[in-house]
Symmetry: C2
């Protein structure tokens, strides 16, 4: 893909913000993205708002984008809400890219926002849409991914210590990211010693929830020329695929593999050319599995990559340089665009103490739903180069 | 706009179907649209699912499209949920058109589905997102549109009898539409004599709710050539605009006017060339206002157009040939695509006893949210020609 560039990114810090609503969070992220792009709010020609839970939790199933943009005085433009589980923000990014590619718009905003610290129904588990019945019986995402972890361990010999090392690494990265919710270092012993959620996953092996928003301004070639390309980052591919309906627990996700293959094919980027990746590390084990599924390491070598520290900043293929979901938290709709925020920041060389030196190509990956079913999505974007 | 065609449309009958879920409804509509296009399910390359209330009413805020397509064995394609109040289906249609225009896909499905006959919280009014507080005090959509009606009456001299004549006309049209929920004729006296909802709007002046689904298959030039263009209908424009935040009750909707202007400009179609229109007749009064806002009649002549029967089939500019929302019911997400279903059926000359003779150009209009605020949308599509 050519013809689409990220001209600006912005985000709120992720955390629990009882005093802020989705509009407050969204406005902050959009203003930051526009400021970063050097554009006024009135320059936005179309917008997409990604959110996965604002309807059920806040009674805002529609109109979140209009609510945010109206407060900025942006009216009379196309605004659509998009939902796709945890990949809602990634889907908003994709739709914005397609809108630019359509030739109808030169400047399109992608916003992702979520507020998970408000729970109207206390005690109800927060699980994937359509999985409430299973959730009541304990089959929540952590339970599912614990089974996936067991499956992956049986196949590769990965250990809980190696999984824990991912949480440790991501916290090390997060120490340098002012937008991350948790920035204090943790040790392998602390990760393993934290409360068991679903064996082998402990509390610090699971991403926290949170509130937050992130946004990106996507522009056409023409608008990139007008803005000046010094800080624009080309979008090479945005792949989105629904699940394959395979109910077996293989310790891999076929939908992620297919989405990655498509993104590499469309971008013309070889996996070995990727300089950094933000992946959907909702759980420590999933980050390791994503290394393999996204072709960032050879099959079965996830444990070795972690043991050798190859996915830390400064090593072979830095993953979750932002601190990942494990450190930032995971306000569903905001996550995919926060990943874009990090990748763009890195590719511009503006990541400060967490900068990946010489980063030219970055990948962002987000997945949603129960990945072994039909009702799931995987999104992979390749930027830079 | 060129380069996008509707190759197939399908829908369920609208009504109250306690035994059917959104997946059942969606599958029926999608299979009908694919059959109409002469395509197999595996031919779908990308899909959008429009729905406005499945999250809050059914716990399905995400994954509705995947749920439907998975049952048809369609997996591993991009699927996104889109929401935009009552214009959710129209927005799904627009996003599908943009996806084709992006050049990435040749065959894209737009699905709209809703199930309103299930209400988890009995007695709670069903109002627009973010308007629950006002709703508790009685300021629901009928109350708002009753004020709009008063405003329009004051400006134009329109009478409740003229509004009622729209309900009568739409039922006459619906008698010939097997997909309409209510097909029995009604009289002006019956409309005026039905229970008052919000003066001057009576029960039969307001659209019923309901369950239903509708779908369209959109294709590129290349795919249209492959399929054969005998029954494909070109999409000339898909306009979508958010609200302008004007809080005054003027008896007009600026956002609809702007969306219509954009659609006419982009399509190169003059309003006088429109042969039929499906408009958002959620209330009798709004249909009359839409005549003017969509430039289907001169300013202030809505009452005259109704008095003279100029919007009936066989007359100057037939409106709501399907029977409209007033007869079909209004399962939010499905409505916009049901309008496309009707326009395409008419432009192909396949509408049977309700056929508009010589129909070449059709318009579909759907609006969502409280139209006088920011948090609203208007969608106008122009097809054919």
């Amino acid at each position: 893909m050519t013809g689409v560039h990220v001209a600006g990114v912005g985000m709120t810090r992720f955390g629990k913000f009882p005093g802020l609503g989705v509009a407050d969070l969204g406005v902050e992220a959009v203003l930051a993205a526009l400021d970063d792009a050097g554009l006024e709010p009135r320059g936005v020609q179309a917008a997409y708002a990604g959110h996965a839970r604002t309807g059920r939790l806040l009674g805002r199933e529609n109109g979140v984008g209009q609510l945010v943009l109206g407060q900025l005085g942006v009216r009379g433009i196309p605004v659509a809400g998009v939902g796709n589980f945890c990949a809602s923000g990634s889907t908003a990014f994709r739709e914005a890219a397609l809108a630019v590619l359509s030739g109808l718009y030169d400047v399109v905003l992608a916003l992702g926002v979520e507020k998970l610290s408000v729970r109207p129904e206390k005690g109800k588990p927060l699980t994937s849409d359509g999985m409430e019945f299973e959730g009541e019986f304990g089959f929540t995402p952590p339970a599912f991914f614990a089974l996936v972890a067991r499956s992956y361990m049986a196949r590769t010999g990965a250990t809980p210590e190696q999984f824990a090392a991912i949480a440790v690494k991501n916290r090390e990265h997060a120490a340098h990211n002012p937008y991350a919710q948790y920035r204090d270092p943790v040790t392998v012993a602390e990760v393993l010693g934290s409360r068991t959620v679903a064996d082998p996953l402990t509390l610090l092996s699971c991403c926290p929830t949170g509130d937050g928003a992130a946004a990106a301004v996507l522009v056409s070639d023409r608008a990139a020329d007008r803005i000046g390309r010094a800080r624009t980052v080309p979008v090479r591919a945005v792949s989105l695929l629904s699940g394959f309906g395979d109910p077996t627990l293989t310790g891999h996700f076929e939908v992620d593999r297919a989405a990655a293959r498509e993104a590499y094919e469309r971008s013309g980027v070889d996996p070995s050319d990727v300089d950094l990746a933000e992946v959907h590390d909702a759980f420590t084990v999933t980050e390791m599995i994503h290394y393999e599924d996204l072709l960032l390491c050879p099959e079965g070598e996830g444990p070795k990559y972690v043991a050798d520290g190859l996915t830390s900043i400064g090593s072979r293929i830095p993953v979750s340089t932002s601190g990942g979901l494990l450190s930032k938290g995971h306000p569903l709709g905001a996550t995919g665009l926060a990943q874009i925020h990090e990748v763009v920041t890195q590719l511009r060389g503006e990541a400060g103490a967490r900068q990946v030196r010489g980063a030219r190509v970055g990948l962002a990956h987000c997945a949603g739903g129960f990945l072994d079913g039909d009702v799931a999505s995987s999104a992979v974007a390749v930027l830079g180069g």
